[in-house]
């Protein structure tokens, strides 16, 4: 706005507004006392308190004061700037002030909420915070925002049902979308499921039409067998480095005839069938795979490991086998990113008392899906893995890894093997949300295939919140599935491979000592391996449970704290298919809003480098987590240069500069020093 920079030269005239926030602040902090304490601070022209500063009335009061008292700085003591900084900056702009002449003191989250039990100290702290904000406000300088370009393209990371749905929404809006999937085919966990609750429709029958739609959508480019290596830039202009693993099969030439598979001499465990069946070294994960091309597993291919074979190349009539393929790294520029990398099923070897991995007839819920799927290792015949007999008595144990403070999801107790995948050993007591219905569905499927089978479900609580879920649970009970309230402590194997479970039935008060042919463990959902690294690459926060943190738990569930990066599906928290699809829609809409803008205003938070002081030591370059500072050679020697679009304003360069050549525009040393000095003042 023209003229806004003129505020700088004038003596500070500060308006201070203390917010009651209803009783959120006023219930603890003596707001009137805080107001009076600020009245005679240097530079303060007017002090007021409002019941709700963010309300229309509150905002109008500030606008009027700016005119009446000729204010040129505003201090608002209220909630976190994350909530209303934008509101008040807009208000200042409308009133003709530079929006960066606003300073907020957080007297709610940092004061009344955390010190609710000590009103006197909370009031004192609020006074200190306001005094320090006024001290900084006196030194604030008007800043101009720069404009950044917006690329109308989006990258979706993760090709499960959430990623697929998001990509389809975006493609449908005419937005060019890159769908990055680390596996050879898109589809994710949903492609591994046999049926979906509560309708019992075949999972792939509903997913594969969407997968085909993705393949056919001209706006979507699938980057399968690929992983994100590096993310740079910011909203509107991200540069993503994607590493494409070699398939050794030309996707365009391969028609999926399968001649190569028939002749390939190497048989290995099939991970898509949870290692219960085998596949060849050249394979397609499942018949409906997209892209519908084969892939060579370079860890097991005889030619790639031992240097001879090439049978597949000899039999392929289309010449699609290309052993000379290598890792390719592509840099893709997009305006927004949707992270939809899903979950990982909890490995029940972390709970050795249940015997998974030791007893062949103890399986997980995902194993069960493959076992009962027509395309699975037994072609849909329910046979227990130990001896391929049909199980007549099946037990399901719920909450395996979920709701477990001690060893649960991500609380891997074992070292090595399973232990290495957990990124945190903190206990995670959350409920994985889907397992109750997964178990109800699977119990029902056993009954459907074998009506005479006895099916027991051990549970702690049945959680069936969802459309049609409770009705499905009721139907399961009516089919004769017995739900036993009480979590078993142990599974014992008998000589014949059958499994003994002793539990307390809380309803009847009896101890039940029962024997089953097969036990299915309802494994919880945990953050996928590598999520920590990905989060670090994108500067995303994770919540305590290890999943990615949403922008706001209620109002921004598909956004993140980083502009231009959105979340869809289980990467945010375990959820079922309809919820994943819904969140994918929300993320796609949010990404489309970003991409529909012609340009984006960038907050001027970056560094200013004084070339006269810079000695080119490169410390800032090494420390910058975003690659936003580079040392360039000039005729005056090596000098640091800021790359504004990549900068996120973290301040590491400014704090580390040994010659004080770097100043953070909106957080200058003098501003921060004044703030610290004021807060330490004894009054």
């Amino acid at each position: 706005m023209p003229g806004m920079l003129q505020d700088a030269g004038r003596e500070p005239r500060i308006g201070v507004y203390i917010c009651h926030c209803g009783l959120n602040i006023a219930g603890v902090v003596d707001v009137e006392a805080v107001r009076e304490s600020a009245r005679f601070l240097q530079g303060v022209a007017v002090v007021r308190d409002n019941r709700y500063t963010c309300s229309e009335v509150g905002q109008k009061g500030i606008a009027d004061d700016i005119k009446e008292f000729k204010l040129n700085r505003v201090v608002i003591a209220s909630c976190s700037p994350r909530l209303h900084e934008k509101t008040f900056r807009t208000l200042m702009e409308k009133s003709g002030l530079n929006p960066h002449l606003l300073e907020m003191a957080n007297i709610r989250e940092h004061c009344s909420w955390v010190h609710y039990d000590d009103p006197v100290a909370a009031t004192q702290k609020a006074k200190d915070l306001v005094r320090s904000s006024v001290a900084r406000a006196r030194l604030l300088q008007p800043l101009l925002r720069t404009k950044g370009q917006v690329l109308p393209e989006v990258m979706v990371i993760g090709g499960g049902v959430a990623g697929i749905s998001a990509a389809l929404y975006l493609g449908g809006m005419g937005i060019k979308t890159y769908l990055v999937e680390k596996e050879p085919s898109i589809g994710g966990h949903m492609a591994m499921l046999d049926k979906t609750f509560p309708t019992l429709d075949c999972s792939l029958c509903i997913l594969s039409p969407k997968m085909v739609e993705v393949a056919e959508c001209e706006n979507i480019k699938i980057l399968s067998y690929s992983q994100v290596e590096k993310v740079e830039g910011q909203v509107g202009n991200f540069r993503v480095q994607v590493r494409r693993k070699p398939r050794y099969v030309n996707e365009d030439k391969c028609v999926g005839c399968g001649d190569c598979v028939a002749k390939c001499p190497v048989k290995v465990n099939d991970e898509f069938n949870r290692n219960m069946g085998t596949r060849k070294a050249i394979y397609i994960p499942f018949p409906q795979a997209i892209p519908p091309a084969y892939v060579i597993d370079d860890e097991n291919c005889r030619y790639l490991t031992q240097g001879k074979c090439k049978i597949c190349q000899a039999v392929c009539q289309r010449g699609a086998i290309e052993f000379d393929q290598t890792d390719q790294t592509e840099t893709i520029e997009v305006g927004a990113i949707i992270v939809a990398t899903g979950f990982e099923p909890y490995d029940p070897r972390g709970l050795p008392e249940y015997g998974y991995g030791r007893f062949p007839n103890v399986i997980t819920s995902l194993d069960f899906e493959r076992l009962i799927c027509a395309d699975g290792p037994t072609y849909g015949k329910l046979k227990r893995p130990g001896d391929s007999t049909v199980p007549k008595r099946v037990a399901f144990i719920q909450c395996v890894g979920s709701r477990d403070q001690a060893t649960g999801c991500a609380g891997y107790r074992l070292d090595g093997g399973t232990g290495s995948r957990g990124e945190s050993t903190d206990p995670k007591p959350y409920c994985s949300r889907v397992c109750c219905m997964v178990t109800a569905k699977q119990a029902f499927m056993v009954k459907e295939k074998h009506p005479d089978a006895e099916v027991y479900v051990y549970y702690i609580d049945m959680r069936t919140a969802g459309k049609g879920f409770e009705e499905f649970y009721q139907r399961g009970r009516h089919e004769g599935i017995v739900f036993l309230r009480g979590r078993p402590g142990e599974v014992e194997e008998k000589e014949d491979g059958c499994l003994r479970i002793i539990s307390e039935d809380l309803d009847s008060g009896c101890i039940l000592d029962l024997t089953f042919d097969m036990v299915v463990l309802a494994q919880g959902l945990i953050p996928p391996g590598g999520l920590g690294e990905l989060a670090q690459k994108m500067n995303l926060s994770r919540s305590e449970d290890g999943f990615l943190m949403e922008g706001h738990p209620k109002l921004r569930p598909a956004e993140t704290a980083i502009d231009g990066i959105y979340l869809a599906g289980c990467v945010q928290f375990p959820k079922d298919i309809p919820d994943s699809v819904a969140q994918a829609g929300a993320a796609a809409a949010a990404a489309a809003v970003t991409c529909s803008k012609e340009s984006i205003e960038i907050d001027p938070l970056g560094p200013v480098i004084d070339e006269a002081l810079c000695i080119g030591c490169r410390l800032c370059e090494v420390l910058c987590p975003y690659g936003a500072i580079k040392v360039e050679f000039t005729d005056k020697g090596p000098k640091a240069k800021s790359i504004e679009v990549a900068c996120k304003g973290c301040g590491v360069c400014g704090a580390s500069c040994s010659t004080k050549a770097i100043t953070m525009k909106h957080y200058t040393d003098s501003q921060l020093a004044a703030q610290v000095k004021a807060i330490l003042e004894v009054v």
Partner: protein, 177 residues
Amino acid sequence: MESVRKKDVPVVTVLDPKFKYEVAREPGGENIKYCFQCGTCTSGCKVAELDSKYNPRKIIKMVILGMRERVLSGDFIWLCATCYTCHERCPQDVRIPEVMNALKNIAVREGYIHPAFRAQAELIAGHGRLYEIDELANEKRTDWGLTEIPQGCPEVAEIYGITGLFDLLSREVGGKT
């Protein structure tokens, strides 16, 4: 097959998984499998108020689990006063008093008749009513100008024969005649 381990907690190793279906087939027992053990029935039960041994929720769970003998041989199912309070309140429409009737019917067929009910049935068989009309009663009736009531009632016995009640009363546990 129940043994007692540690005081009074029964340890159950053998269940009859077909029992719940058997009860569901019996008129009155159709909805038993819908029970999700909320406890509404027991909370309002007047009998449970007097004697905590009677717990309709627990009886239904024992049926679902398949504790056949324990349910059929016990006193519990005979204690229901059929006041229908639980029937009105049950959120799953289990119709508990009718489930109890279904269980009683099965129990009787299996030779588990509660002694109190056996005594009543035998009194009615012998006298045509729940109490005996003695000579004194008939004398009084004569004084008042009323006709005498016959002692014994062969028609009742005939009904017992036709309906099979005699047969049921003579059954041993396990259902053998």
